[in-house]
């Protein structure tokens, strides 16, 4: 008998449909699995055989052939266990799988259905491809049920699935996961009220958050760079629904979604260590590349502490995503594109020992060493960072006397208002404005334009630097609610642009 069951394999954020055909025929007892299966799929034979036997089902003692079509596409992952087992069971009993239904899940030897990564992505793509129903591991049913109009059958055990298909005991479908906004669920870790003094850096963070601009904090150890950066998630507005969905899909691919609350509203904050590899930061792996830290930080913040300690090649690879908000990685399985529209917040010491420019402690670095340290940072990467600001160390004795700043909540309100203004006007944040679009905005007072041009020339800004300063000025104006970009906005923007890294 022949049975066919639908499933899919993942290729980045896309799922490719796979037809699992099982045929048992007369002949010597054998279990053949064909159709360009990678090792993880080939191993399905052993899991499936045990699972079927341990469910009290009969495993055919005939010549059994399982074909994974289309045959020229390489298949990876353990998600095909369940559809293979179901196809074999159906071929044995002569049953048929329900129409427009797909199966996904890994099997344990006792027949339990185990979690697989990327169920949300698979569910979205299957729905788009015209499927009405998916059978997924019960652990992942919550994320699959985020997709509207898709019936999700949570599978706990192979025996139950077979019984359900035979019409003996129906499994209740998973209710649609509630995606209503829940603001109490996520409390940010740090609040700006804990930051004493540091008015310049606070302002820079506010501008960065309001316009989506990249930011470099430079200052001696213990000056509060990390603290400031960690305040960012708390002043960013919560994710929009479609943004939360994109974030959840990346997490789903990595098996990172929490089953109870698959949709998170707080913006991601990723802080990879400076020893991170290229594959870890940008994305990689064999077959199809998995998303890296920059994609995990999508719609959120990527914080790179000790920027100069990162491998130069890793930093170079940041350039493409910084410019266009996504990254394309090619591996043996093919090339995939992941979203990577993050706000980069980098922190660096002014010199290797950290004390250059400190009012109290003396820097012990030789000029040549400092030069080499800055060379690692300089050039194309720094040119893409809009805001550079020096952070000073506040001596412990004075810390208590420093004025307490505003708390995160009022700052977040200002940022939200500024962001709304940008989205209403141009549909994206200022940092993502293309130069052509930037020029169309009736937004620069004639005098300010001259100021910008004059100083850009004097200070040798690149064309990119010129436009970036303009965008930051636009954000400063938006924070103020000003229609036109004035001189003061341009000067503030240039002030951040021209800050020396050795500060």
């Amino acid at each position: 008998m022949l049975a066919t069951v639908d499933s899919c394999v993942l290729a980045g954020l896309e799922a490719r449909r796979v037809e699992v055909q099982a045929d048992s025929a007369n002949g010597e007892t054998k279990f053949l699995l064909v159709g360009l299966a990678a090792t993880s799929v080939k191993e399905a034979r052993e899991r499936v055989r045990s699972a079927i036997k341990n469910c009290g089902l009969h495993f055919p003692s005939r010549r059994l052939t399982v074909n994974l079509a289309p045959a020229e596409m390489r298949k990876e992952g353990s998600g095909l266990d369940l559809p293979i087992a179901v196809a074999i069971a159906l071929a044995e009993t002569g049953g048929r799988a329900p129409a427009r239904s797909a199966f996904l899940g890994e099997l344990a030897l006792d027949g339990a259905v185990r979690h697989v990564d990327g169920v949300l992505v698979a569910a979205r793509c299957l729905k788009k491809a015209g499927f009405d129903r998916v059978f997924v591991p019960a652990a992942d049913a919550g994320e699959a049920a985020l997709i509207e109009g898709l019936e999700v059958i949570p599978c706990v055990h192979l025996a139950e699935v077979v019984a359900h298909l035979a019409g003996r005991a129906a499994i209740a479908p998973q209710p649609f996961t509630d995606v209503s906004f829940d603001s109490t669920a996520s409390q940010p870790e740090h609040d700006l009220v804990e930051v004493h003094g540091q008015e310049e850096a606070r302002r820079a963070i506010e501008v960065a958050a309001a316009g989506g601009h990249h930011l470099l904090l430079s200052g001696p150890p213990g000056s509060g760079k990390t603290m400031l950066a960690r305040c960012l998630p708390g002043i960013l507005p919560p994710l929009e629904l479609d943004e939360a969905f994109e974030v959840a899909q990346v997490k789903s691919l990595l098996g990172d979604l929490s089953p109870g609350r698959p949709l998170d509203w707080i913006r991601p904050f990723r802080a990879p260590h400076h020893g991170v590899s290229m594959a870890g930061l940008i994305g990689g792996g064999s077959g199809f590349a998995l998303p890296g830290e920059i994609s995990r930080a999508h719609h959120g913040v990527l914080f790179l502490d000790e920027l100069a300690e990162f491998q130069a090649s890793v930093l170079q690879a940041l350039r493409q995503p910084l410019e266009n908000g996504r990254v394309t990685i090619t591996r043996s399985g093919g090339s995939v594109t992941y979203p990577a529209r993050f706000t980069l917040v980098a922190a660096t010491n002014p010199c290797p020992c950290g004390w250059l420019g400190d009012p109290v402690r003396t820097c012990r670095c030789t000029p040549a060493v400092i030069d080499a340290y800055h060379r690692r940072l300089s050039g194309p990467l720094l040119d893409r960072i809009d805001l550079k600001v020096g952070v000073r160390r506040v001596p412990l004795a004075e810390l208590a006397g420093e004025p307490r700043g505003e708390a995160s909540a009022p700052v977040r309100e200002r940022i939200q208002a500024a962001r709304r203004r940008q989205l209403d006007r141009q549909g994206c944040l200022n940092a993502q404005l293309k130069p052509g679009r930037l020029r169309q905005l009736p937004a620069l007072e004639p005098g300010s334009r001259r100021t910008l041009e004059r100083w850009s020339e004097q200070k040798g800004l690149t064309a990119r630097g010129f436009h970036r300063a303009w965008r930051v000025a636009r954000t400063a104006a938006d924070l103020e609610g000003a229609e036109l970009v004035g001189d003061r906005h341009v000067l503030e923007a240039l002030g951040y642009r021209l800050q020396d890294v050795a500060a």
Binding site: E199, R203, G357, E492, D500
Partner: protein
């Protein structure tokens, strides 16, 4: 350490030197903007009075002194801690060429091909003292190489002078200690010329100096400038607090002043620029 044998020095350029008083101007490799301006101004004024300016071709005060001497149209000598064929730091290659072109010299007690070695520089400092009639220390933290030069000068019975600075500046701790121990106080080039025994020339009125250093600023901006020092950097945040203005506004106004050349960034803060509009690398 014994004084070096001046007749055995290797040299490029005009050597032996023409007659005339020789003044060494030395100081920190990482001076404040004030120290850098003083070194340059002093060297320029001394060069105009016919003094040969001696220094060590190092970063900071040394380079400023050589540059000032060239601006004043004088002859200047760089005493090097490497062979005369190796310019260290390499960034001063052009400065070295300019010194030679202006009729000065690069000299060294080390054979050609000697690479920069930490232990060679104190010996070089001795040579600076030995070559000069007066040694002026501009800015020096405690334990600075410039203080070695001053000590060597004392042992060789040369005149030692020092430039005062702010009592808050660590860069003036060394110079203030020298003054306390009896070094001559330098307020302008005349003080140095008097010590060198060429006090006839009247160069300028010390009270007129600030104008030449370039503070003729539009009055409405003084609101910010009077709060800035020329030695110690003040951050935009501190200024904003003093002036009761939003930090964004202060940052913009500082940038405007910076672009006009009236203010310079120094580390994470701002200082008054002592010369207008002449940005140096």
């Amino acid at each position: 350490m014994s004084p070096p044998d001046l007749s055995a020095l290797n040299a490029r350029g005009r050597w032996p030197l023409p007659d005339g008083p020789r003044v060494a101007i030395v100081g920190s490799r990482r001076p404040s903007p004030y120290g850098e301006a003083v070194a340059e101004q002093l060297a320029a004024d001394l060069a105009r009075a016919g003094v040969i300016v001696v220094s060590g071709l190092a970063l900071g005060c040394d380079a400023a002194a050589h540059r000032g001497a060239l601006v004043g149209g004088g002859v200047t000598v760089a005493v090097m801690g490497t062979g005369v064929d190796i310019v260290y730091p390499a960034a001063h290659f052009r400065l070295a060429e300019e010194i030679l072109a202006a009729g000065g010299a690069l000299v060294s007690q080390f054979p050609n091909g000697t690479a920069p070695r930490r232990h060679n520089f104190p010996a070089r400092n001795l040579t600076i003292a030995a070559l000069s009639d007066v040694v002026v220390v501009v800015e020096a933290v405690q334990g600075s190489g410039a203080l070695i030069t001053a000590e060597a000068a004392l042992e060789l019975h040369k005149e030692v002078m020092a430039v005062p600075g702010s009592i808050f500046s660590p860069l003036s701790v060394g110079t203030h200690a020298l003054i306390r121990d009896g070094a001559g106080l330098v307020q302008n080039a005349r003080d140095v010329l008097a010590a060198a025994g060429v006090g006839r020339e009247v160069l300028d009125d010390p009270l007129a100096a600030p104008r030449r250093l370039g503070f003729g600023l539009p009055p409405e901006r003084d609101g910010i400038l009077i709060h800035l020092s020329d030695v110690l950097a003040v951050s935009a945040a501190e200024l904003a607090r003093k002036l009761h203005l939003p930090v964004a506004e202060v940052l913009g106004r500082l940038t405007s002043l910076e672009l006009d050349g009236a203010v310079r960034r120094h580390g994470p803060g701002y200082v008054r620029a002592l010369r207008r509009g002449k940005e140096r690398a």
